[in-house]
Amino acid sequence: MDFSIIQLITIAALGSMGSILVNRGVAVFNDGLRPIVPEFLEGRITRKELAATSFALSFGLIIGFGIPLSIGATIIIAHSILLACDIIGIWSPDNKKGIIISGVVGAVYSIGVCLGLQFVVDLFDKLPINFLDSLSLVGTPIIIAFTVFPAVAVGYQHGFKKAVATASITFISYLLFARFGTFTISSYKIALSPEGMSLLFGMFMMVYFAVRVKGGNETTNSDLVNIFTERVNRIKKNRWLLAIMGGLVALVSAQMILAVDAMPQALINDGKYSEAAIATLARAIGFIPLVFSTAIVTGVYGLAGTTMVFVIGIIFREMPIVAFVVGAIVMYGEVMLLSVVTKSMDKLPGVREMGEHIRTSLADVLGMAILIGSAMAAEKIAPGMGFFWVMGFYLLNRLAKKPLVELAVGPVGVIALGILVNILHLFGLWSK
């Protein structure tokens, strides 16, 4: 992880812009914080209470999820920066000075995270027993395992039989594309990635089943849009600011600084960019209903919107300026389509529900993949003791008063083990 000056400038711009948007109450990244913001804007809670809530909601995820999963990776998890924008923006005063303070602190913090992660990696590199190479094993299971998530989501939504059908089609298309996916058409060599193609087939099945769910005469979403027209207009009023933010997010995604989650992160680490783009797209589809509905009822948008801008970044990774422009257009489009898309969910109740199941399934698949990857990494660092360590860490964490985020338990455990063997080595209790 070595950052160029240009990369540091763009990440500073992102952190700065993000913190300012939060400071002005235009957008926040944490979906849980969004509903609290109007409570403040409309004077029911104080800035202090809002600040305390923002800290409670986001700090744990930054130090317990974003940062540990980014150590030793080639790309940082977006939560490390964007959740911090929530805290920085809200902790800065609510006036003109606050805009400047949040902008400056946001920029300094973002550069700090990048350089800090670089520093930690350099430090670990100097230790007598190197465990950074083993740490990269944490992401290995994700690279294949992520293709199963549509089948799991179908299972949660439509039951076991359709899940097995989806899993079988995913599996068969994987086998077929692995065997016949590379071919030559008039001297052009075409290589279709089996992971990417099987994921696409799985997603196709998932959407197909969801669209077939018939809606009644429900008007819940239209009602919401009508009740909260003023709040929707508030978001639309800020469309230009949000478009710039969308462009910046697409830009840092294109420059391979930020990934939206652990799944695309692991794929990018492995150089699988198109798979990462598809996985990011799938994740974004899962988040559209949640982001849109919370945005409509609060008048506060998401810093990265539906996170579709991350997909744009990965697609245009060779052309960062194009990524910025297209990202801005996409974010602008999201804001303008907010009401229309949400209303259409009444007619497609299966699609709205699919969002929930995608998020559950992603969390489950990712959780298991990272746990297994962590156990593999720990076993590589300390053969014989690794499995004991990671499983013990994972299960004991559940009993803790202040537990770590489950996704991060494995990686944190592995890093702790790496440091421990170095300490033991220092006392002559561990041989290389």
Partner: protein
């Protein structure tokens, strides 16, 4: 007899099973999407809302917070803090009706929450 609706986004089936085990015939449980679940509570078709997600407040409580207001909602477990039995009892006593928690903490939270709601 109390009616509980399960919204939120994670582990809905597991939470349903758990509440049924804990509450037996005293509790009527239904599972809905987060939006419909909150609407059911708002329209007084049910008495309480519970939901789980990664953070205990995002997917779990976002719609409830937006439509019912902060006074009615509480996060019982976040990634960094799980409330204990006394704290959960106090939240129930203070009149909260919508509860969010993290998926991994479901078991410990519900073990305290369901009896507390039943004795209220």
């Amino acid at each position: 007899m109390i009616k509980i609706v399960i919204g939120g986004q994670l582990n809905k089936q597991a939470i349903e099973k758990l509440i049924k085990e804990l509450g037996g015939s005293e509790v009527e449980v239904s599972v809905k999407s987060d939006l419909e679940a909150v609407m059911a509570l708002k329209n007084k078709q049910v008495d309480y809302y519970v939901g789980a997600c990664e953070t205990g407040s995002g997917g779990a409580l976002a719609m409830a917070l937006a439509l019912l207001g902060r006074d009615n909602c509480v996060t019982l477990a976040s990634p960094s803090k799980v409330k204990n039995q006394e704290e959960i009892l106090a939240e129930v006593a203070s009149g909260k009706i919508a509860f969010g928690f993290t998926a991994p903490s479901s078991v410990s939270v519900l073990k305290a929450l369901v009896p507390a709601l039943l004795t209220k």
